[in-house]
């Protein structure tokens, strides 16, 4: 599922609040790096670095426009992390269903 992605890069990229904010913004529309930089108190270079981390993790893509690059969120990659958790939920819901079935039976006495 994540075969063509470096999962450590992805984890690292998601572990920072500014980078998560950049993802949220670029999911809805494209932003130039300078437009993003105006949203934060950090330098243009610092924002550029965050964008580079996100790009390496496959969470955003950059598209040239004029002298600038537009940053765009990659919903597929973002969804992958959530997708894994969906499947984990499924796994545990099944287990809890089975627990419920066992609890509905009279307990066998041998382990009491």
């Amino acid at each position: 599922m994540l075969a063509d992605l470096d999962v450590d890069l992805l984890f690292h990229a998601l572990a920072d609040a500014t980078r998560r904010d950049i993802i949220t913004r670029t999911m809805t529309r494209d932003y130039s790096v300078s437009a993003l930089a105006r949203s934060y108190t950090m330098s243009f270079a610092a924002v550029q670095k965050h964008v580079a981390v996100l790009e390496r993790a496959g969470l955003v893509t950059k598209h040239p426009r004029g002298r600038e690059h537009l940053v765009r969120g990659s919903p597929d990659t973002i969804r992958t992390a959530s997708g894994l958790l969906e499947e984990l939920e499924e796994l545990w819901r099944d287990r809890i269903d089975r627990m419920g079935e066992i609890l509905a039976e009279p307990e066998s006495g041998e382990d009491e």
């Binding site: 998601l14 984990l88 627990m99 609890l103 307990e107």
Partner: protein, 170 residues
């Protein structure tokens, strides 16, 4: 449905699920503490789990394997960290090789189980999993999916057997 809450946090790689059961706390605890009960729910019917070692004491080891439809066996282990019967269990959950020995370069998950009485006399159980990396999460889910798939195929097989049997008579 006994599941009362599910929390998924992809950014922090954490997951927890809460369920309520209308039985005493000690009864729910035994789902974990009694290996014969544990193996009835840990794996799905098509991938039943067999617990080999089950030392539920701090520092203790639990080992198990799951047997697939082709007779394939998948080993796993827990390293038990905290045991406060009947309320709390913490363990590290990992994969093992065919001899049951932990595979050191495989990711592990930290699991915490809390079991408490509710105001109404029911029992609330919460299971939380924290993943060290997305890779760890992926690997675990992959195993789960494998089970789920096998289960679905098993059901289709059963259905086909029912439909075909009267006419064919193998």
């Amino acid at each position: 449905m006994t599941v009362t809450n599910v929390h998924k946090d992809p950014e922090h790689l954490t997951f927890f699920i809460t369920a309520e059961f209308d039985v005493p706390t000690e009864r729910v605890w035994r789902l974990w503490a009694d290996p014969r009960q544990l193996e009835r729910w840990w794996g799905p019917p098509t991938y039943p789990a067999t617990f080999v070692e089950h030392d539920l004491t701090p520092g203790g080891t639990v080992t198990y394997y799951m047997t697939g439809p082709e007779g394939d066996q998948h080993y796993g282990w827990w390293r038990v960290l905290t045991v406060e019967a009947p309320n709390r269990l913490e363990f590290e959950d990992g994969f093992a090789d065919d001899a049951g020995n932990p595979i050191s370069d495989m990711p592990t998950t930290m699991a915490t189980v809390t079991i408490d009485a509710t105001e109404s006399g029911a029992t609330r159980m919460t299971i939380s999993s924290i993943f060290p990396s997305l890779e760890a999460m992926e690997k675990l889910v992959e195993m789960g999916m494998e089970e789920g798939m096998a289960q679905a195929i098993g059901q289709i097989d059963a259905l086909l057997a029912e439909t075909v049997q009267p006419g064919v008579g193998a």
